[in-house]
Each structure stands twice: as structure tokens, then as C-alpha cells.
């Protein structure tokens, strides 16, 4: 059995590497439409992974994770429009400012003994409030937002988003395998007990919160650049927060590949349906979200496992390990 595992491992690795190679070469051949489509998939993969870090591994469900997307987007826009920074400096600023906000918010929300439900609604409220404040502040563009200079080429944003997606997966793998991640998982299991066995829960929670905020932050900036536009309703759209959540949960929260599978599956689904009714994709997502939580809370990954267990009986006493 070991030999078989090694072979399947190698095949998987080869498949992954070739897949990545394809993705790297694609933009030189593909249509504008295809490239834009891929950019969005990469962005959603990044967002979903970042939500997974916080909710899937540490157990803190954020219903307003898009707030970092908006903060990053606006930091980028302001850096470009008001400070004249170049693209990369502006993106770096996006990550720094988002991390700072995450630190500030984390210092209040994650050092006190707050219920998960409270955390959820407070993040939801935070997103809403940022939206309202920016929409009403002239110096921040008010409700009209900013129009940014157009992108010189599609290649750079493509590689930026591909890079973000890959990086976010790597961070998830690191979290899944590392001691830090084990500490997070123990917080998810039972926070009070985790604290009593020496896990510095406040520190860990803030750290993962900051980590999970940087990815949406940079994504927000990069997408503002890509679309050459930002306004508060786009940047702080509730749909972004929902997308993070449903893509992760649909694929499988707390797993390495769940968010990637969920993001890919759901984006392709919506692209295929492409009904011309506005807001339709949100209706589909919300119904799917409700159904999956009720019927298969572990997402697609868990469904695969269940099917796997059914058809390929485990060699050791049939005991269910997973």
C-alpha cells in the first residue's frame, strides 16, 4: 500500500506542477474574456482561502470579511490618486493598512471573551459602517468613488492574482501542517481548554486575523487597479463577504483544498448559468449555502470522503478515522 501511496502522490504532484505551468502560460494565448475570467477565479480563491484561515482553522466566523477587501481597495486608490504612488508601492500600502486595521480590531475583539455570534455580527456591522462612512466623506470619494488610470496590460494583473492565489494556498498548507496551525485548531475545538494547556489564544487569534486580512486587502487593491474603478458599494459589497464564506463552506471549511474547489466550482457554475436577471447569482449562492449547511456541512470535501469510505472500505477494521 505504501508504494501505491508514493505513486499516487507523485502523480498528484506532477498534475499540480503541470497545471501551474499551464496557468502561467495561458495569458499569452487566451482571449481577453478567458483571462478576465481566470483573474476573478484567482481572486475568489484568494478570498476564500483567507476566510478559511480564520473560520475554518481558528473557528472565528466573520460575516464581514469583505471589509478588508474594501480597505485594501481604497488604500490603493488613495495612494494612486492622492499620493501618486506607483502600483506596487500602493499594493504594499494596501497590505500594511489592512493589517493595521486588523490589528486594531483584533485588539478589541480577540482579546476579550466574546461569543462567536457576537464576532460574526460585529464584523458584519464593521463592513456596513465602513461603507456608510466612505460613501459620506468627500475626501474619500463619497459615493462616486474613484476612476483610476487604465491598466497597461492584462498580463500584470493576471500574474498578481495568480501569485496571490498560489500564496494563499501555500499559507493554508503551512497552517494545516504547522504547530501554529495545531494551536489554531485547538482553539476551534475548545478555546477555554486550549488556553489552559498553554496556547496563547489571544496572540494566536490576532495573528491569524491579521494574516487573513492581508490577502483580501491586496486583492481589493489589485482589483481596483484591474477595473480602474472603485466605489463604496463595490468595495464593501456584502456579496464579497458572502462569497468568501460560501465558497469555503461549499468546498469544505477547515480543509486545504475546500476553498479552491468551492471557488472554482461556484464561479464556473455562475458563469455557465449566466442568467440575465441581476442579483441572480447571489440568490443561487444563498440557497446553496443554506442547503449545504443543512445537508453537508463539511462541504464537497467531506462528501468525497464519505463516498470514498463507502466504496473503498478502509483496510483497518473499518473504523471511521475521518
Amino acid at each position: 500500500m505504501r508504494k501505491q501511496n508514493n505513486i499516487s502522490y507523485t502523480i498528484l504532484l506532477l498534475g499540480l506542477v503541470s497545471g501551474l505551468l499551464v496557468l502561467v502560460l495561458v495569458p499569452h494565448f487566451a482571449s481577453r474574456y478567458m483571462i478576465s475570467f481566470l483573474i476573478l477565479i484567482f481572486m475568489y480563491i484568494t478570498l476564500a482561502n483567507s476566510w478559511n484561515m480564520l473560520a475554518g482553522y481558528a473557528g472565528y466566523v466573520s460575516l464581514g470579511h469583505g471589509v478588508f477587501f474594501g480597505i485594501g481597495g481604497y488604500t490603493f486608490a488613495l495612494c494612486i490618486m492622492k499620493l501618486g504612488f506607483n502600483i506596487f508601492l500602493a499594493l504594499i500600502m494596501s497590505s500594511i493598512v489592512t493589517a493595521m486595521f486588523a490589528l486594531l480590531i483584533g485588539l478589541v475583539l480577540m482579546t476579550t471573551r466574546i461569543r462567536i455570534a457576537y464576532f460574526a455580527i460585529m464584523t458584519l456591522g464593521l463592513n456596513e459602517i465602513f461603507k456608510i462612512v466612505i460613501a459620506n466623506t468627500e475626501s474619500l470619494g463619497a459615493s462616486y468613488g474613484f476612476t483610476l488610470p487604465p491598466i497597461p496590460t492584462l498580463l500584470i494583473p493576471y500574474y498578481i492574482f495568480l501569485g496571490l492565489a498560489i500564496l494563499s494556498v501555500l499559507v493554508i498548507v503551512w497552517i494545516d501542517k504547522s504547530n501554529f496551525g495545531l494551536g489554531l485548531k485547538s482553539i476551534l475545538q475548545d478555546e477555554e481548554v486550549a488556553e489552559s494547556i498553554g496556547v496563547s489564544t489571544s496572540k494566536y487569534k490576532i495573528m491569524v486575523f491579521i494574516l487573513s486580512s492581508i490577502f483580501p486587502g491586496v486583492s481589493g487593491g489589485a482589483i481596483a487597479w484591474f477595473w480602474s474603478y472603485i466605489d463604496p458599494y463595490l468595495a464593501f459589497d456584502l456579496a464579497i463577504s458572502m462569497d468568501c464564506a460560501i465558497m469555503t463552506i461549499f468546498g469544505g471549511s477547515g480543509t486545504i483544498w475546500g476553498p479552491v474547489i468551492g471557488a472554482g466550482f461556484l464561479r464556473i457554475l455562475v458563469e455557465m448559468l449566466w442568467v440575465k436577471i441581476p442579483y441572480f447569482h447571489a440568490i443561487i449562492y444563498s440557497i446553496l449555502l443554506i442547503l449545504i449547511v443543512i445537508w453537508a456541512p463539511g462541504g464537497l470535501v467531506e462528501l468525497f470522503r464519505r463516498l470514498n469510505n463507502k466504496f473503498f472500505i478502509s483496510k483497518s477494521k473499518g473504523e471511521e478515522y475521518y
Binding site: N179, Q189, D190, V193, E195, G198, V199, E319
Partner: protein
């Protein structure tokens, strides 16, 4: 036997704990010698688990102080108290249900006392030793949620031992166990002290067990220490008899 200041591993000085209008612990003071096994007894609601919550840092005390090896740890956060060497088990048995036996114990090793920067592999080895110590060898990969009560208690114990404590707080660890398991469990508790050198403070309802194993017993009632002494003295103490039997009578 000389009671030098520095052989007290744990000292508790006038600890009081209020919950709004309810006073759960009243001016509680006691000292524990290194490698002692101290029992804590008392009717329900006497404040026993509250005492453990306060000592382990899960709750803040209202007034008073306590020291571990001379260090004042009164307002320390729970994870620091663990890192300094106090571990505890829970009355309601709380292993990490989604973790395997090995993962439960390994987490304890990784985050407990004195093991900064240990590799996962070495932590798992140490964990393996402790899993064998409590008698769960062979079940390393089993998920805690699939284990029965005794096994869950052992996992929790292994996890607590993994944090490398100098003092362990056992909260009704025998509760729910069939009588056939009691002897073995009491033996294990003795081994924790004899082989691992860990001091034990042990809350228990099963008086027979406390009487047999502990060197000293403290009796609480309504948050007040009403008696302290050897098992024999406790069984003769009139106050204890009154609390348990309503009249002055000898226990067992």
C-alpha cells in the same frame, strides 16, 4: 518533618471569589508540599471547581493571592499558568473531540511548560510515552469523539501530563467510572506522583478513594474551609460529620 518555606510548591492565601451577590470562596488558605497528594472534599456547591477555575486562571479571583514555587501567579492568564507548571482536568471531561489521541497529547507537549521550539516529531515521541503511561497505547490514531468515557478521561489526562506540569488539579476524575475501574485509576494517580514527581490536588466525591490515596484532605462547605488534616482526622472531625451526615458521627 520540617516545613521549610521553599518546600511548599503551592500556597493559597485568603482567596475569595464573588459572583455578583454570591460568595463562592471565602478567605480560603492552604499550603501544599511538593509531591503531596491533597484531596478536596465537600458537598455540591461547596466551591471546589471554582477553586480550580481560579487557580488555573480560567477565572479571576476577587481577593487574595496564590503562589507557585514562591512566584505570585495571582493575576496571570491561564496559558501562562500552564507554562509555569499547573495543569488541570475537567469535571465534564473535555478532550479535543475532533483530534486523535496522539494529536491531543502532542498539543499538550507543544504548548506546555519548557518546550519552546520542539519539533513536531519529537513532540509526538514524547506524546507516545505519555499515551503509554495512561494505558492508551494502540489507540493513538483514534478520534477522541469515538472513545468511551474512561478512554476520554485518559486522553485528557495524557494531554494534561504532556504540558509538563509540576502541579496537577484533578477534578472528579473518578466520576462516572464503574467500580471495577476505581482501583486502576487510583493506582494511576499514585504513579503520577511517584513516577512523574507531580504534586496533585484532587477533588473527588468518592470519599473512599480520597481516604486511601491522599496524605491530607481539605473539606470545603459553602466556600469555607471547615477542616484540614489526615484522612483519619477528617473522618473523626465533628464539623465534617455534621456537614455530611447532619449529626456528629464517625465516617466509615
Amino acid at each position: 518533618m520540617s516545613m521549610k518555606e521553599n518546600s511548599f510548591i503551592f500556597e493559597c492565601d485568603k482567596i475569595t471569589k464573588d459572583f455578583g451577590g454570591l460568595r463562592a470562596l471565602v478567605d480560603l488558605s492552604f499550603k501544599v508540599l511538593k509531591k503531596e497528594i491533597i484531596g478536596i472534599m465537600g458537598p455540591n456547591g461547596a466551591g471546589k471547581t471554582t477553586l480550580f477555575n481560579v487557580i488555573s486562571g480560567a477565572m479571576k479571583r476577587t481577593s487574595g493571592s496564590f503562589r507557585l514555587n514562591g512566584i505570585d501567579i495571582t493575576n496571570y492568564k491561564a496559558h501562562l499558568i500552564c507554562r509555569l507548571g499547573i495543569g488541570r482536568t475537567y469535571q465534564t471531561v473535555r478532550p479535543f473531540l475532533g483530534f486523535s489521541v496522539l494529536e491531543n497529547t502532542t498539543v499538550g507537549v507543544l504548548f506546555g511548560k519548557g518546550k519552546e521550539n520542539i519539533s513536531r516529531k519529537m513532540a509526538e515521541e514524547k506524546a507516545g510515552e505519555l499515551i503509554r503511561f495512561v494505558g492508551l497505547q494502540g489507540k493513538e490514531k483514534a478520534l477522541a469523539k469515538n472513545l468511551n468515557l474512561i478512554e476520554r478521561k485518559k486522553v485528557e489526562l495524557a494531554r494534561t501530563l504532556a504540558t509538563n506540569p509540576v502541579l496537577i488539579l484533578l477534578d472528579e476524575i473518578l466520576s462516572g467510572l464503574p467500580t471495577s475501574e476505581l482501583e486502576a485509576s487510583m493506582l494511576l494517580i499514585n504513579r503520577i506522583r511517584d513516577e512523574l514527581g507531580i504534586t496533585i490536588i484532587w477533588i473527588e466525591h468518592i470519599m473512599k478513594a480520597l481516604m486511601e490515596v491522599c496524605e491530607r484532605i481539605i473539606v470545603l462547605d459553602n466556600g469555607v474551609k471547615i477542616a484540614e488534616g489526615t484522612p483519619k482526622n477528617i473522618s473523626l472531625d465533628p464539623n465534617v460529620n455534621e456537614v455530611y451526615f447532619g449529626r456528629k458521627r464517625k465516617i466509615i
